[in-house]
C-alpha cells in the first residue's frame, strides 16, 4: 500500500514536470490500432504522457499507405503519403506505436517521391521526426524505466521492418527488462519474419501461415505467458494462430506492456 502511494506520488511529480517541460508529440496512431485495437493507441498516449510528452492527436490522419506502397501500387501510395505529410506538417516529434508504419514514412516515402524534389524534401523532413514508440522513449526521452505495473513472463518478437536501422531491437528489450514485474525470456530467431505483410498474407496465405506457425513454435518453446511486439500486423498473425489453436499464450502490443495492465484495454 505504502509502495503504491510512493509510486503515485512519483507519478504526480513526473506529471507536474511534464506540464512544465512538455515535449510536444504528435501521435501517429496507425489505421490498424485505430480500427482494431484502440487500446494500443491509448496505451501509447499513457506512456508518452507519463514521461512528460504533450500528446497531440491529429484526427485527420488515416493510413500511411503501407499496403499500397508495399504491393507496388505507388500511385495510390503517393496520394496517401501526401495526405500524411500534410497532416503531420510542422514541427515536433511524431511517434507511432508501430515500427513498420514509422519505417514506411522514414524509408519508403523517399522511394515514392524519388522523382519529385519538392515532395521528397517534405518526406525527408517529416521522416526525420517519426519515431517508433520504444525508440522514442529510449533514444529521445532517455527513459530507462517505463514505470509499468505489467507483470508476467514475456517474450519479444522483433517486427522485421522495425529491425531496419542499427540497434532497433535494443530499445524494446531495454524497456521490458526495466519493468519489475516482467521476466523477459528470449525466443529463438526472434527476428525471423512471422509472415505478416498485408499483400503477402493475401497472395500467399499458406506460406504466410507456415511462417507464422514457425514463429509461434519458437514462442511456445520459451514458456512465456505473453508475446509482445511493436507491430500490430505481427500480433494479428501470431494472435490469430493462438486464438485458433487455443495455446496458453497471449499476444500483446509493446505499448500495452509499457503502459501497464490498467490502461491496456479501455
Amino acid at each position: 500500500m505504502r509502495e503504491g502511494r510512493v509510486l503515485s506520488y512519483t507519478r504526480s511529480m513526473i506529471r507536474k514536470n511534464a506540464v512544465e517541460n512538455a515535449v510536444p508529440v504528435s501521435l501517429f496512431f496507425t489505421c490498424l490500432a485505430d480500427t482494431f485495437a484502440p487500446g494500443v493507441a491509448f496505451s501509447a498516449v499513457t506512456v508518452l504522457e507519463r514521461f512528460g510528452a504533450r500528446v497531440e492527436v491529429p484526427l485527420s490522419q488515416t493510413c500511411c499507405g503501407q499496403p499500397a506502397a508495399g504491393s507496388g501500387n505507388f500511385r495510390e501510395a503517393r496520394r496517401m503519403a501526401a495526405k500524411l505529410l500534410a497532416v503531420f506538417d510542422g514541427e515536433g516529434y511524431i511517434v507511432s506505436p508501430s515500427g513498420s508504419c514509422a519505417a514506411t514514412v522514414r524509408h519508403v516515402y523517399p522511394v515514392l517521391f524519388r522523382d519529385e524534389p519538392r515532395m521528397l524534401a517534405r518526406a525527408r523532413a517529416v521522416g526525420e521526426r517519426v519515431y517508433e514508440l520504444s525508440r522514442f522513449l529510449v533514444d529521445v526521452l532517455g527513459v530507462t524505466d517505463p514505470g509499468s505495473a505489467f507483470a508476467g513472463k514475456v517474450t519479444y518478437h522483433d517486427s522485421c521492418r522495425l529491425l531496419q536501422g542499427p540497434g532497433a531491437g535494443s530499445a524494446p528489450r531495454a524497456l521490458l527488462r526495466a519493468i519489475p514485474g516482467v521476466e523477459l525470456v528470449e525466443m529463438d530467431e526472434s527476428d525471423r519474419c512471422c509472415g505478416f505483410d498485408a499483400a503477402f498474407a493475401v497472395r500467399h496465405p499458406h506460406v504466410s501461415a507456415a511462417m507464422a506457425e514457425r514463429t509461434l513454435e519458437r514462442i511456445l518453446e520459451t514458456g512465456a505467458q505473453f508475446v509482445a511486439s511493436a507491430d500490430l500486423g505481427c500480433l494479428f498473425t501470431i494472435g490469430g494462430l493462438i486464438s485458433r489453436s487455443g495455446h496458453p499464450v497471449k499476444a500483446v502490443h509493446l505499448a500495452e506492456v509499457l503502459a501497464g495492465p490498467a490502461e491496456a484495454a479501455p
Binding site: R54, L59, R79, K83, C193, V202, A210
Partner: protein, 474 residues
C-alpha cells in the same frame, strides 16, 4: 534445365509446404548454414569493412564493365585462352556445342554452374552427342533424381540424407547406406572413372580477374579443380558480371564468399586458372575455352537494377529468407531462387514471365542484412512490384481494390464511417471475438488463422469522446 515456370509460384509453394521430406531437409540444413555463417562473420572483425570494400569494387566494375571485360579478354587471350562472346543463351549453346564437335568430345564432366543452367547447356550438349556428367555432389544427386537444383550453392539442399541413400540404392544399385562419408565415397568412385575418360571439363567461374585473365573457381569437393585440369579441354561458362578488376581483389571476394555461403574462412579448393597448359607445365588442359555470356545483362546494366549484377552467388540471402526457408528453391521455378532470384529472374526472363517472384517476399529486410556486397534487394523487389503495376501486370481486381482502399483512406470522415459500420457488423456477427471465416480474397488467411474483429468504436471516436477536440487535437 526445364523451361522456366515462375508463374506457378503460388501452387508450387503450396505443394512445397505439404512435402514432409522437403520440410525435413530444409529445417535440418538451412539452420546449420546460417549458424556457420553467423559464427564465421563474428570471427572476422573486419567483415563489415570488407563488405563495403567489395561493394565499392563491384560498383567500379559495373561503372565500366566493357573496359574490364576488354581487359580480361585481352589478358586471357595473351595467355592462350580462346574467348567466345555469347549475346544470348542460344548463341552460348551453339558455341559450346561447336567446341565439343570441333574437339571431338563425347564425354564431359561438369562442375556446378548456375549460368549453364540458365542457358540450358546440358540438353544442348546432349543433343550434340556429348554426355555430360555432373561432378559437384549436389548436382550429381539432383541429376540422379531427375530434378533441378534448388539452391545456387547447395544444389541438393532440398533432399534428406535418407532420400539420397534411397536414390543411390535404387538408381545406382549400391548397397543401402545413410552414412554420409559412404555416400560421398560412392559418388567419388563413380565420378573418378568419368574424370579419367572425359575429353572435356566444364566449369563455371566464380570470378574473372581482368588484369591477369585468370578464372577463379572455388569448390568444396575439389571437383572443379579436377574438371578444370584433368581433361584435355577446359570449357568455362561465365556470365559477364563475374569480372573483377584485379587478381589482388580476389582474396577479399573469397573471404566474403566462403563466409557468406558456408561459414568457412576459405572454401576447401580455390583454383586460379590462367591460360591452358604451357610447355613444361606438369598438368592442365591443352585447350582453354571461355564463353562469356551476356544473355540480357548489358540491358540490366543500363537500368535501375544494375546493382543486382554485383551478386557473387553466395546464397546467403536464400538461407536467411524466411520465405525460401519455408518452401525451398523449386517453387521459384527457375535456376535463381530466393531474394536474389526474385530480382534477377524477372530481369532475365522479362517481368511478365516471372511476375509472381517479386511478390514472393515480405520485404522483411533479412536478405539485405546479410548480402556481402550490400545489394539493396528489398528496394529492388519493391521497385519491380511498382513496374508490374506500371506495365499492367496486376489483375483489374487488384488495381480496383487498391483504388478503393486509397479512396476510403482519403478522408478521415469516410474512414470513420466505414470503421463504425465494421464495428456494428462485427458486434452483430462475431460479438467482437476473433473472426474465423472471411470471404475471398481473405479466405486464405482465415483457413489457418483467426482475424481480429474490428473494435466496436475506433480509437479516433473514443479519443474525441474522452478528450474532446481541444487546441491540441485538431
Amino acid at each position: 534445365m526445364t523451361d522456366p515456370r515462375p508463374h506457378a509460384f503460388s501452387r508450387s509453394a503450396e505443394s512445397a509446404l505439404a512435402d514432409p521430406d522437403l520440410q525435413a531437409a530444409l529445417s535440418c540444413a538451412i539452420p546449420r548454414l546460417l549458424e556457420r555463417r553467423r559464427a564465421a562473420v563474428a570471427a572476422d572483425p573486419g567483415f563489415e569493412e570488407a563488405r563495403d570494400a567489395a561493394s565499392r569494387i563491384k560498383a567500379e566494375v559495373l561503372d565500366d564493365l566493357d573496359l574490364h571485360l576488354e581487359r580480361f579478354i585481352a589478358e586471357a587471350g595473351k595467355r592462350g585462352a580462346k574467348i567466345h562472346a555469347a549475346r544470348d543463351g542460344a548463341q552460348a549453346r551453339d558455341i559450346a556445342a561447336g567446341i565439343a564437335r570441333e574437339e571431338g568430345i563425347t564425354l564431359a564432366v561438369k562442375g556446378k554452374s548456375t549460368v549453364a543452367g540458365e542457358i540450358g547447356l546440358n540438353p544442348a550438349l546432349e543433343a550434340a552427342g556429348v554426355s555430360v556428367v555432373e561432378s559437384d555432389l549436389g548436382e550429381y544427386i539432383v541429376r540422379l533424381a531427375g530434378e533441378n537444383p534448388s539452391h545456387i550453392v547447395a544444389s541438393a539442399v532440398h533432399k534428406t540424407r535418407e532420400q539420397v541413400a534411397r536414390l543411390f540404392n535404387v538408381v545406382l544399385g549400391e548397397p543401402y547406406t545413410e552414412e554420409i562419408p559412404a555416400l560421398v565415397g560412392i559418388a567419388r568412385r563413380r565420378l573418378r572413372e568419368k574424370f579419367f575418360a572425359a575429353g572435356m571439363g566444364i566449369t563455371g567461374a566464380n570470378f574473372l580477374c581482368a588484369d591477369t585473365g585468370s578464372v577463379a573457381i572455388v569448390t568444396n569437393g575439389g571437383n572443379g579443380r579436377i574438371a578444370a585440369t584433368l581433361p584435355r579441354v577446359h570449357l568455362v561458362i561465365a556470365s559477364i558480371d563475374k569480372v573483377i578488376p584485379r587478381l589482388a581483389d580476389l582474396p577479399l571476394f573469397l573471404r566474403l564468399l566462403a563466409r557468406s555461403a558456408t561459414g568457412q574462412p576459405l572454401s576447401s579448393y580455390v583454383s586460379v586458372l590462367t591460360g591452358p597448359r604451357r610447355p613444361g607445365d606438369a598438368e592442365g588442359p591443352e585447350k582453354l575455352h571461355i564463353v562469356l555470356v551476356d544473355n540480357g545483362r548489358s540491358a540490366i546494366l543500363q537500368g535501375k537494377y544494375r546493382d543486382i549484377l554485383a551478386c557473387i552467388r553466395c546464397g546467403a540471402c536464400l538461407n536467411v529468407c524466411p520465405v525460401y526457408r519455408s518452401i525451398g528453391g523449386h517453387a521459384y521455378g527457375w535456376v535463381y531462387p530466393g531474394p536474389m532470384g526474385s530480382v534477377l529472374s524477372p530481369l532475365l526472363l522479362g517481368l511478365p514471365d516471372a511476375a509472381p517472384l517479386p511478390d514472393a517476399s515480405t520485404l522483411c529486410g533479412a536478405c539485405a542484412e546479410v548480402c556481402p556486397v550490400r545489394i539493396p534487394l528489398p528496394d529492388m523487389l519493391l521497385a519491380l512490384r511498382s513496374d508490374a503495376r506500371a506495365q499492367g501486370l496486376r489483375t483489374p481486381g487488384e488495381v480496383l481494390g487498391s483504388k478503393l482502399y486509397a479512396g476510403a483512406m482519403a478522408r478521415a470522415g469516410v474512414l470513420e464511417a466505414l470503421q463504425r459500420i465494421a464495428g456494428i457488423v462485427s458486434q452483430l456477427l462475431w460479438r467482437n471475438k476473433a473472426i474465423g471465416w472471411l470471404p475471398w480474397p481473405f479466405s486464405g488467411w482465415t483457413a489457418r488463422r483467426d482475424f481480429p474483429a474490428p473494435a466496436p468504436q475506433p480509437f479516433r471516436r473514443l479519443w474525441k469522446k474522452q478528450r474532446g477536440i481541444g487546441p491540441w487535437n485538431r
